[in-house]
């Protein structure tokens, strides 16, 4: 049980870090840029919200199979299979939680008052300064929400990690799958404990989200 929990936590942590690195530039582009294919990109980002996890998992599995381009390249570089591995689960989890990371940041960036951005321009701030000193602090709440939701959503994965990871004990068997196995094997006491732990994690993460949304990140009153 501990083993599967640790795998889940590790997966959620790695996935969240990678997601933030991807989501920040992606959210910036979606919030401020207009270009052909913008709507298509938004739809692709949002797809995991409605796609059955097994469908996403199946496509990821096909994509990272040893005879595929990505899977083959991975195999030749690291000399191990990407399918049915922890790394493979990370790839799937990043795709699966993408909307939960991108959308809060995108909304937070869009909510930045126009006159703050104009002030940054007339004060001569370059793009890097504007990003780091105006946009990121202003959207801090959205970034926190994105991190919390990505983490919680990855902890709660089932179908995708089952398809892509294959439930290998000690490697890819995460807590939610372990719970399923416990129930199947009628290990009721253990199942109860694990279920309560997963419930607590979700509760804490969502509490964080709602607290950030209510108070805003160190904003005070705008002048």
């Amino acid at each position: 049980m501990i083993e599967s929990l640790l795998i889940s936590l590790q997966l959620a942590l790695v996935t969240t870090v990678i997601l933030l690195l991807i989501a920040l530039p992606l959210a910036y582009v979606l919030a401020f840029k207009t270009f052909p294919g913008r709507t298509a990109l938004e739809v692709i980002v949002a797809l995991p919200l409605v796609l059955p996890p097994t469908v996403l998992g199946y496509f990821v599995l096909v994509m990272i199979a040893p005879d595929s381009i990505v899977g083959g390249a991975w195999q030749s570089i690291f000399d191990s299979s990407l399918a049915f591995s922890f790394s493979g689960m990370v790839v799937a989890s990043v795709l699966y939680s993408l909307p939960f990371a991108v959308q809060p940041v995108q909304q937070a960036l869009r909510a930045i008052p126009v006159n703050w951005l104009e002030m940054a321009r007339t004060q001569g701030l370059n793009l890097k300064q504007t990003l780091l000193q105006v946009m990121l602090p202003a959207a801090k709440g959205g970034v926190l929400v994105a991190a919390a939701l990505s983490f919680a959503h990855t902890m709660g994965e089932f179908g995708v990690v089952l398809m892509v990871g294959g439930s290998i004990p000690g490697e890819t068997k995460v807590a939610s799958i372990a719970l399923f196995d416990m129930v199947e094997m009628q290990q009721t006491d253990q199942a109860w404990i694990l279920a309560l732990i997963l419930l607590a994690v979700s509760f804490v993460m969502l509490s964080l989200v709602y607290m950030v949304n209510r108070h805003g990140p160190d904003m005070g009153v705008s002048q």
Partner: protein
Amino acid sequence: MKSESNRIKITARMGALALQVDASFLNAFIIISGENGAGKTTLLRCLAGLEPAGGQLQLGGKMYLDSTAGFELSPQQRSLGCVWTDTALLPWLSIEKNIVLGAESMDTAWLAELAEMFEITPLMQRKPHMLSTGEAQRVALARAIYKRPSGLLLDEPFSAQAPAIRQRLRLRLKSMQEHLQIPVLMVSHDAEDAHVLAHQHWHIRQGKLLTSLPHHSRAGGNPDQQIKVMFHD
């Protein structure tokens, strides 16, 4: 003082408003007045580069826009100090950090001088939400001048100031303009602003610059000969 180091010959369209301004002037203090919606703020926004405009624009001896040559500087490149009616102070930064925002190094002596000038010295470590509207406005003035701009665009910068401090600010802004020798374009409806500050008083009606008569001859030199104005009516 270079002659005619400022040239504004621009046209812009903002909804129903057609802005058309043609004026040349020295590095002087210009008060702009006119009715609501006449285009005063739009003019300042065009000068700042925040709204698209056509024509030619040269401020403080520097070329910002020449649409016939396809040349235009971004707002970042224009090095103009701006104060808008919304002060846009960043709420998570102290007043001091707001003023030096974007500067590469902190010039503490200059910062202290500006704080003194705008009577915000005791506020420097506070956050914007602890300030009154008038105090926030004075911080915005200090921020606009801190980076030593080559021109100042001020949209009713004293609107929230009490009469006593307003008079002190006028005199300090005036000596600052004389010291820095930069063009200052300030929108104001206060007759006293025009009386004390204006080398030229512009009146804008329905997007057109109507008069640019010198308010009085304290500008130095003979302002009458330095002004060329197109009358569009």
